[in-house]
């Protein structure tokens, strides 16, 4: 069978010519990506349904299905309910609301359009942000009867935050206010007042009725007082930001393509600027320089490539480059830093907590990161900066972030591709936040580690021991400190240098300023972890005895330390037994409601999944438990295996 039989088949000349002319025209069309946003019931989905219908993008079978659906779920009586065209999920159709963003496609002789129809409910803000992150323009819908609502402001703010510069203020349902010019102008004035702070390049206000089609495609008889463009005219003509070829070259490396020894190319999508064979480039993280040898593609090598193109670059020299690094122009380099300030939108039901560690992902890089400081939260209504200890679902804040290793980036305002990141929860893998980098924190690039001549291993060998952290975690009253104390006594008897960190000696001094809320507990453990790390650096065996209820914090401390330096000991005593022992009378108080945030009562305890040692305490003596810890230390080479008799004291 000839593979290309269909292409070689002679065709009627006229049809072929007609179609190639049509195709050539299609080729010239530009693409506009926009989203519709605004409050619930402002008519976003109806507007898109209307655009699709009026631009003849709805097929007969879809129309028939729509008429069926309109009778079943519609909110317009016998009329067609256009919203049902885009609300594709069953839950959405039943509840008559939009839950998730839907993408729709239509084109006119001038342009192709990709529309993101985004939900209006506040709880689905993250889906609105998803639609906004790839859009060039936002249509903000306002119900003429309602005026500017909380969601109008929230969505405008998020659109601005995500770098959208063109806004259409669509004053919808104008038919329900008798096509009133006065109502329209009042709303426009209100909007302009608050939007002046948001840095939009254009705001085009249009009065319209999505349901009846006034001013959607063409001018409306009912709105003769309005002299501006209809919605579609505006969408067809609004100036697009062209790819700016003067921006510096940025090429985040996605994939190293190495099919054989003769070819080693770096694959990725050009984030900005242009590149040509012979161009000098540097590797962002190492500063190593080389030249571009080839730009390889399936369609042949390219003489030049620019923003948005997915290519494979071959360099003249064997330089070390892997995924997450960036090839950049030598004259204008991105920041390479492990600390930076950023705007953050929070997507998760579980609040953002400073001190907790997350996975930070840029377009191609991935590192562990911690929010070191929540500088302020932004009030969506007044845009005021408010002090805050955490960020809740759908809140926006400005934070300092510290990453475990340096990443290469630009400010978001100068490059959306290289200035953005997401945060991922380490346990659930959920995407919990989206960030836009403002600037590098200079202390990261300028404060270098003081290289010390006496290091951890020399201090430890002086003491004839291997430093480590033995981390006892468990409920209050489970016996952590009792076991830790006995282990320390025995280590001291062996001449080992040790130190115990527990609530008593830390909470009264270093952490006196912290309470027992979730945020403070995280910070408490972070500080204890850092102190333990310094002590390990000093060559000590550190015994830490803290409830430390959260898996995430214990893991954060584990990662602060070197391999094999952290040992988690789970002191496992059932809640009922702890409450029965109640050595400090705390359980009695907590159960009476006199102590808030008490672990096991009204604050959770997350048991370790893979502790180095799991101590079940019920029915066992402190001596037996301490011996188990000693055995662990012997197994891990922290202390040597002496004759057991030498252990007794």
């Amino acid at each position: 069978m000839s593979k290309l039989a269909h292409i070689e088949t002679p065709v009627a000349q006229s049809a072929a010519e007609e179609i190639s002319a049509y195709m050539a025209e299609q080729e010239k069309k530009s693409l506009l990506r926009f989203l519709t946003c605004g409050s619930v019931d402002d008519g976003k989905s109806t507007l898109i349904g209307r655009l699709l219908y009026d631009t003849k993008l709805i097929f007969e079978d879809q129309l028939a299905a729509l008429q069926n659906d309109s009778r079943k779920h519609g909110t317009n009586g016998e009329d067609i309910d256009f919203a049902l065209l885009v609300d594709g999920l069953e839950a959405e159709r039943e509840q008559g609301i939009t839950i998730d963003v839907a993408y729709r496609f239509f084109s006119t002789p001038k342009r192709k359009f990709i529309v993101a129809d985004t939900p209006g409910h506040e709880q689905y803000t993250r889906n609105m942000a998803t639609g906004a992150s790839t859009a060039d323009l936002a249509i903000v819908l306002v119900d003429a009867r309602q005026g500017i609502l909380r969601q109008t402001r929230r969505h405008s703010f998020i659109a601005s935050l995500l770098g959208i510069r063109n806004i259409v203020l669509a004053v919808n349902k104008i038919d329900l206010v008798n096509y009133s010019q006065e109502v329209f102008e009042t709303i426009v004035k209100q909007y302009q007042e608050f939007a002046s702070e948001l840095g939009f390049k254009t705001i085009q206000a249009i009065p319209l009725s999505a349901r009846f089609g006034d001013n959607v495609i063409g001018p409306s008889e009912n709105l003769r007082w309005y002299e501006g463009p209809s919605l579609l005219q505006h969408l067809e003509n609004v100036a697009l930001d062209d790819a700016d070829t003067t921006r510096p070259f940025r090429f985040p490396v996605q994939f190293v393509n190495r099919p054989n020894l003769d070819f080693r190319g770096f694959s990725g999508t050009i984030a900005s600027g242009t590149v040509a064979p012979g161009d000098e480039i540097v590797v962002a993280k190492s500063g190593k320089a080389s030249r571009v040898k080839r730009i390889a593609t399936w369609d042949g090598d390219l003489d030049i490539a620019g923003e948005g193109q997915a290519v494979t670059i071959v360099l003249e020299d064997e330089v070390e480059v892997s995924r997450g690094n960036m090839l950049v122009s030598p004259g204008s380099r991105p920041d390479v830093a492990d600390q930076f300030a950023a705007h953050l939108v929070w997507f998760s039901e579980a609040p953002l907590i400073p001190g907790r560690s997350y996975i930070l992902r840029t377009e191609t890089d991935q590192v562990t990161a911690t929010i070191t400081d929540l500088k302020y939260r932004v009030d969506i209504n007044s845009f005021a900066q408010e002090a805050a200890k955490s960020l809740d679902l759908n809140e926006v804040g400005v934070v300092n972030i510290s990453t475990q290793e340096a990443i290469a980036f630009d400010a978001y305002k100068s490059n959306r591709s290289t200035g953005s990141f997401i945060l991922i929860d380490r346990l659930t893998n959920a995407t919990v936040g989206a960030g836009m980098i403002d600037f590098a924190l200079r202390r990261a690039s300028n404060v270098h580690w003081q290289a010390l001549d006496v290091d951890k291993s020399s201090r430890a060998s002086q003491k004839d021991q291997k430093p480590a952290v033995i981390w006892f975690t468990g409920l209050s009253g489970s016996g952590k400190s009792t076991v830790a104390n006995l282990v320390e006594k025995r280590l001291a008897a062996l001449g080992k240098h040790t130190y115990i960190l527990d609530g008593d000696n830390v909470r009264h001094g270093l952490n006196r300023d912290l309470g027992f809320t979730e945020e403070d507990r995280v910070e408490n453990i972070r500080r204890v972890g850092e102190v333990a790390k310094l002590m390990v650096d000093a060559g000590l065996i550190v015994l830490v005895s803290f409830i430390s209820p959260f898996i995430a914090e214990r893991r954060m401390v584990r990662e602060l330390l070197g391999d094999g330096e952290f040992m988690e000991v789970y002191v496992d005593t059932p809640f009922e037994e702890c409450a029965r022992r109640d050595p400090k009378g705390l359980y009695a108080k907590a159960l009476r409601g006199e102590i808030k945030n008490f672990t096991g009562v009204d604050s959770p305890y997350e048991a370790p999944e893979h502790p180095e040692l799991h101590l079940k305490t019920v029915g066992r003596t402190t001596e037996e438990l301490a011996s188990e810890v000693e055995k662990l230390l012997i197994d891990r080479g922290i202390i040597f295996n002496f004759d057991q008799s030498s252990w007794s004291i």
Partner: protein, 301 residues
């Protein structure tokens, strides 16, 4: 100087980026190869994404045993031509039970021979990411789906709780047993697909072109009698008609359209004046409202 990319160049670059992202971040990806025109475009894009290397993953065809014979021939010749790693899986239990769309209806057939078969194959090979050729313009539930679409260990989709998908940053992290379905051509329309096939000279199954074929009118659709398993019902007549197919699947469930369009330009021009959507020829979507969403939740692509 470079100029702004055209619409199609942007779509192509986006798809290539997605292919590479999966290859770089998953341990054991697979591409679902369904032999249709969208699969042909996907295959072409995958070849481009990894040039000069071959795509670093296998291609999996779920064979319901009711595909058109010409599809199977085309599949095998493409695997020969391009040298990709083709794997074919059928639900053996379904075959033993004699599951047939004629006897058991489209719902049962699709569930057992496609959805269950797919889950079996994914579990058998332990794939952690699977490329699919779904497009958002095809169907309302698909219009809502992310490009990287998370599936739990039971392969099901939770449409009310999708991960936010910001910029080109894809969250590819999963726990053991979970997986991600990836749709590189999410943002393409049917017209984009045809335009790209023309521009790039991509081979497609000849069934897309009009020819004289033996068809039977049944339930308002023209069904091609591809083999002896299709029994004529009382009153039905086998007729030779000039027909072609807008989508391809199991022959008993795929309606032909009467057409003289025997070349790509003719197909495109026919499509431009068409007043019905391409999925209309598929029985799967007509069974009940929201049926695609239901199937997707159960693990269908």
């Amino acid at each position: 100087m470079t100029k702004n990319l055209t619409h199609l160049q942007r779509l192509e670059a986006e798809a290539i980026h997605i292919f590479r992202e999966v290859a770089a971040t998953f341990a054991n990806p697979v591409m679902m190869y369904s032999i249709g025109k969208d699969s042909s475009v996907m295959l072409h894009l995958a070849m481009k994404a990894f040039y000069p290397a071959k795509p670093p993953f296998p291609f999996l065809h779920i064979d319901s045993t009711w595909k058109f014979k010409e599809m199977i021939d085309f599949r095998d010749s493409e695997a020969d031509r391009l040298g990709f790693d083709l794997r074919v899986h059928s639900n053996q239990e379904g075959i033993e039970q004699g599951i047939s769309p004629f006897v058991h209806g489209s719902n049962t057939h699709t569930h057992i021979m496609k959805t269950v078969a797919l889950r079996q194959a994914l579990d058998k090979y332990g794939f952690d990411a699977a490329f699919g050729g779904a497009r958002r313009d095809e169907e309302k539930a698909r219009a809502k789906e992310r490009i990287f679409s998370f599936r739990n260990a039971q392969h099901s989709w939770d449409p009310k709780n999708q991960r936010p998908e910001m910029w080109k940053i894809y969250n590819t992290r999963i726990a053991k047993g979970e997986s991600i379905r990836v749709f590189p051509i999410s943002n393409w329309t049917e017209l984009d697909i045809w335009q790209y096939i023309m521009q790039e000279n991509i081979p497609i199954v000849p069934l897309y072109f009009a020819a004289k074929r033996p068809v039977v009118e049944r339930d308002g659709m023209l069904i091609m009698r591809d083999d002896e398993r299709m029994q004529l019902l009382p009153g039905e007549v086998l007729q030779e008609k000039m027909v072609r197919f807008r989508t391809l699947g199991c022959y008993p469930l795929t309606g032909a359209v009467e057409s003289d369009a025997a070349t790509l330009p003719e197909i495109v021009s026919e499509m431009l004046v068409s007043r019905t959507s391409e999925r209309q020829g598929r029985m799967i979507d007509r069974d009940e409202a929201g049926s695609m969403e239901k199937k997707k939740r159960e693990g269908y692509f």
